[in-house]
Amino acid sequence: MTIELSRRGFCIGTALIGLQTVSSSAFAARSEDGTVRLGLVAPMSGPNARYGAFSLRGAQMAAKEINGAGGIGGRKINILAGDSQGTPVEGVSATRRLIDQDQVDFIIGDVSSSVTLAMQPVAEDAGVLLLNAASSNPKITYKAGVGGFKWTYRNYPTDENRALIVLQYAAEKKGFTKYAVLSVDSDYGRAAIEFTKKYLPRFKSQILTEDYYKEGEVDFRSVLSKIRDAGAQAIIMYGNADSSPIVGRQMIEVGIAGKIPLIGNAEFNTASTIKAAPKAMEGAIEAAAWLPAYDSEKSKAFVEKFTAEYREAPNNHAYVHWETTHLLAKAIEQAQSIDREKVRAALSKIHYASAVGEVTFDDHNQARLPMILLEIENGKPAIKGAYSAEIDYPK
């Protein structure tokens, strides 16, 4: 009897859910209010909330600019934020909520590679354009375009390019051949090292020690003293900005600050990080998609406007989300519609003048973008040039 009842209950429940889905898709037509509903998935809480806050501000500033100029063909951009908390599981539910409940037209997200990789199939199933602005794991675009996921695009350089550029500079300009690895234990940190290893033989270099830290780790001294004793010439660190000041301070404690520089990417150039451990950050080498000191008119105007608006200098995430929102707006404008298929086609053919150069997409939906190489000199980031490299897609 109990089984009978629960079965009946299950059937009724399923029918009700089905009805609800049908009714919501039938009656709540997307953007009937004449706006462009843009979902933004980013870590709004948790250890990476800082990135989410910058991403949202960047995208909101772009939306404000676009709306202020009359919108896209009369449509105003309405940004709906989803909190991924920096974890794949929350990222997927945020994406689902944005698609099913908020009926967004397009999604930008996430900052973390692990989250973006998990979001890709969800966006693909729903046929919603997912434009990534800040994840760098190469797998994201290996799987996109001709790789399979036709709805995923990325307007951000990949770790493969970054690994090559950093290693090349360290080997050719600094003469380093022995490295220690201290990267974040995520798809981003691990992939960056995987690609670094691919290029090590080219520069006759080797990795002596390899360690990955969990987000939120605060004690690096054991590993730093191991690195000191191993005789490494530089520490390859691909991590998050929040760990850099802690690592820097503890480098001072174990006596390697100023002797073994950090190379890679973990926002070594942020003013507060340099202030936290100036001696450790001196000589740090970083390849970034963008940085506030980048010398272009559009970039400088962005920094000025952002700083005036939020009383805080923008970071890389604020910039890429600002630029990507503008890029999407241009694609919508060229498509003269918010029809997802038309916007996707427009994006594939776009020639967009970004602050770091022209953006075009390859057949893997990956933007061709340069990386900016910088070195901290006398407590300030000095730009050493912009480098591009073609992506070597696996066959």
Partner: protein, 290 residues
Amino acid sequence: MFYTIIEQVVNGIVSGSVYAIVAVGMTMIFGVLRAINFAHGEYYMLGTFGAWFAIEYFDLPYPVAVVIGVVATSVIAVVVGNVVMQRIVGAPAEAGVLATLGVALILQNTIILVFGGSYKFFSGGYIEPVTLFGFTLAEQRILIIIVGLIVFVGLELMVTYSRMGKAMRAVSQNIECCAVVGIDVRHIALWTFILGAGLAALSGVLTAPVNVSVYGGMGELITFKTLPIIIMGGLGNVRGTFVAAMILGVAESLVATYVGLQFRDTVGFATLMLVLMWRPHGLFSAQARF
């Protein structure tokens, strides 16, 4: 080689001192309230935020900020103690788990709501490195070890000689008998809780200068570090907690060096399992609390 091992043991002792100060509060609360305080890490976080706020907004010197952080947390603990903790004395275990988890979520999200979810940079403290017997340590870390020792000697004296301490021991051993002989159990529970929260806050403000980053969710990690320590030390046993904290600190340090940093967080529960296989009640008896 030998030098490295000694250096890692010293590093472990520093981490152990931090764990010990946080865990001792949690174990005392367990002793008296019979409830694992899942919000314990949040008091660590509140103390850190209090000190950060004092430095950032009022430009106060670090020692004053330490006092402000601990006092502010104790005030919050008075409120939480009265509203929540006193009510779980004698209540079923699951009531304590749910109540403290709820408190943890409320405290964490209130801080995120007020100050935002982003990382804050803690600028106070004494971070200059000093060299002792060939080892380099930040001044702050030496301070942490010294304060850790003072706290444990102080607690030992308090629970042995003071009236309140004796009452705490009595309540931890037998609540019913205490009630029969006229000890105000709820009053003792409240003060134990405030003391525990204050110690967690003290640990937070002491470590903030070396941990640098301050954020709303920082307490979670501490709660989960503290759990294996208090179980290993024999739930409610102060001396056991101190030893367990040191074991965990040193084990973590050695694992981070010789196995890999990514395995550090697994050490706590792995060590706990090993200890429990050998001594199911923990290293020290739970009967000989305090």
